[in-house]
Symmetry: C2
Subunit: 380 residues, 2 copies
């Protein structure tokens, strides 16, 4: 293998694939990035066996020459050092040559680097995926759906299935569900051109989805999603992102979402968020994060919290709308803030069916999101 | 105590004094901020006994009304919660009233806070300092002198005196010295109007100097420095910053700085810095950070490092000047990078007296700085 390559393209591809590299791997070959060079271009691959990412660098981009291939070939190079040194090379062009025993010589300007490469034959083979279950989704919508659900996953390894987000698709509607048994987030969206494609119980690790979000560009790129038996493949421009589907059956969450309410409030999202944030500051000192919400005779909503050591915070906000019975409820303000941080609509409906029943939060826009928070059982 | 105060002024003063609060204090009163209100204004004080900071808020600033005093008085309020909640209050004006048992009522907009205050009589009294040893220094020069020396202090608590920076003043020259026994940094500057003021063995904790740097504004404010027996007082605008002087005698470092050299190089600071940084990346993998510097027959300087697992990096840079004997030396590249990060001059002199003797670095400007790094003993 012998090539000359533009540093900026090499750097971008390295950044993309290196997201699949775990710093804690004990398998030496998995701490490396695989290079495959042929007369079409250079393919970089990295994998931690849960996620595999592949990025392709073409010979030319528009009328710009990106790679000159003198000799095709393959090698695996140590990722951690490679990622950092490429960024810091002094010239725009980088020369790479693999010699005997995968010893790799890299030069750029006056800098010469000799790296101990590994045998590419030892690198794991990527899963082969049949492309009969494919849908497309705008990249920014996908990122939004991830952001608006992934915070509700469980971080406990004792229930591995809940560390993922449940994806399902039917009748052109893609739906995400995440829950840690104390709260739940759902978000759905209608897709174009998804006729005939259906899937269910596709659970993808939250950690994986966060990495995926970083790779999807902010511009409105289309992401192709291919679902197979135990793998999902995301195609983003010149990047292929493979993720394992988590083993197990996701619990049925439909029954914990109430469908009729005793009290309904409409509140300004920003005002509620700032108010809960102040009450949270004090509740945090008690480690419980408990904040109380209470309807007043005046029609206002009181938000309050207290700490035996520090004191009390209370304030009132005016609801834009208020229907149903008076109410007094306690909840984990951190869970409420997590929701308020990702809600984009200016107003929000909060609904209750009783002091010990789930609290429902629904943004007043067409985002098809719904959040559930279980209340605290308190004595007063 | 009963006042109305502009949130922005209160917030600024809280930010300043809270730098004196240790999160690990076990003495409850020291986790608080003391408020003293009289008919001149409001004084905030915080202390961890090593550092004490006092900030004064006047009744008026120019023609702007800042504080209205309805009733003078004092109270100590819990700092951690107070710092955060004030920032997040919904209005520009904050009302504070201390009632029985130091219970303090704060209101802003629709937010009402009740805080458990503490007795101000329990708060430590600030040291009284005689102002006969006073010098003035421009704030930006002071910050620069701190930045260019403090990184060389020791972080080992076994030699407490070396965790500080040595200050001395004589013949109008203020000099800072810091060393951890492996490297040394000195920086001096001529002061105006310091005639007759002399001090020696004034050692101030590096941690304290970093906090002081954060409080000194970037604009060219004059900082007054008052040195007493075991305390230094810095006066910065409306802020008083008291620091304890470290106990003990700072070691004599003058003898470890060579005065004649066998080899002298002049190098471009930025090029050297980037080159050492690349070699450091590889040396770091070996945990030693060892980088080699070697003169070549061609007149170039070779910078190189190697790692048994990863490989080698080597490159050459052209010196702007080269006098004396050929040389081959190994050193801790992290120490060299620390110096190169704070050097502001475009060129730098590096001088050597032998493979096992200290390396001298001198910026080629009028900053009166000098850095010493001890080399590594290596076998080749």
């Amino acid at each position: 293998m012998k090539i000359s390559i533009m540093k900026s393209y090499l750097n971008e591809s390295i950044q993309q694939v290196s997201k699949a590299i775990s710093s804690r791997t004990t398998i030496p070959i998995l701490s490396g990035i695989k290079f495959d060079v042929n007369h079409q271009g250079v393919t970089l691959t990295a994998s931690d066996t849960d996620i595999s990412i592949q990025s392709f660098i073409p010979l030319e981009d528009g009328d710009k020459s990106v790679v000159q291939v003198e000799q095709p070939g393959s090698v695996v190079l140590p990722a951690k050092f490679f990622v950092e040194i490429i960024k810091k090379l002094p010239s725009q062009e980088v020369h790479m040559e693999v010699k005997a025993n995968f010893n790799t010589f890299i030069s750029a300007g006056a800098t010469e680097i000799q790296l101990v490469g590994l045998d590419p034959e030892e690198f794991p083979v990527l899963p082969s995926i049949e492309e009969n279950q494919t849908v497309s989704i705008p990249g920014d919508l996908l990122k939004n759906m991830i952001k608006q659900t992934v915070f509700s996953i469980s971080t406990h390894e004792t229930t591995p299935i809940l560390t993922g987000v449940l994806w399902s698709l039917g009748d052109n509607e893609l739906k995400f569900v995440a829950t840690d048994r104390h709260r739940l987030a759902t978000r759905s969206a209608m897709l174009d051109n998804a006729e005939g494609v259906r899937f269910n119980n596709v659970v993808i690790s939250g950690k994986t989805l966060n990495e995926l979000s970083k790779i999807v560009p902010d511009q409105n790129t289309l992401v192709d999603i291919v679902v197979a038996d135990n793998q999902v493949l995301f195609k983003i421009d010149r990047v292929l992102f493979y993720s394992r589907i988590l083993d197990g059956t996701y619990p049925d969450t439909s029954r914990i979402i109430p469908t009729s309410y005793k009290t309904e409030l409409v509140l300004d999202t920003k005002k509620l968020s700032e108010s809960i944030d102040r009450a949270y500051l004090l509740s945090r000192e008690e480690k419980t994060n408990i904040v109380r919400m209470q309807t007043m005779d005046s029609g206002s909503i009181e938000i309050s919290s207290s700490s035996s050591e520090l004191g009390k915070v209370r304030e009132e906000i005016e609801p834009a709308d208020f229907n149903g019975e008076p109410l007094k409820i306690s909840f984990n303000s951190k869970y409420m803030l997590d929701v308020l941080k990702v809600v984009e609509s200016e107003q929000l409906m909060i609904a209750f069916t009783g002091v010990m029943s789930p609290i429902i939060l629904k943004p007043l826009d067409d985002s098809h999101s719904l959040y559930v928070i279980l209340p605290y059982r308190t004595t007063n």
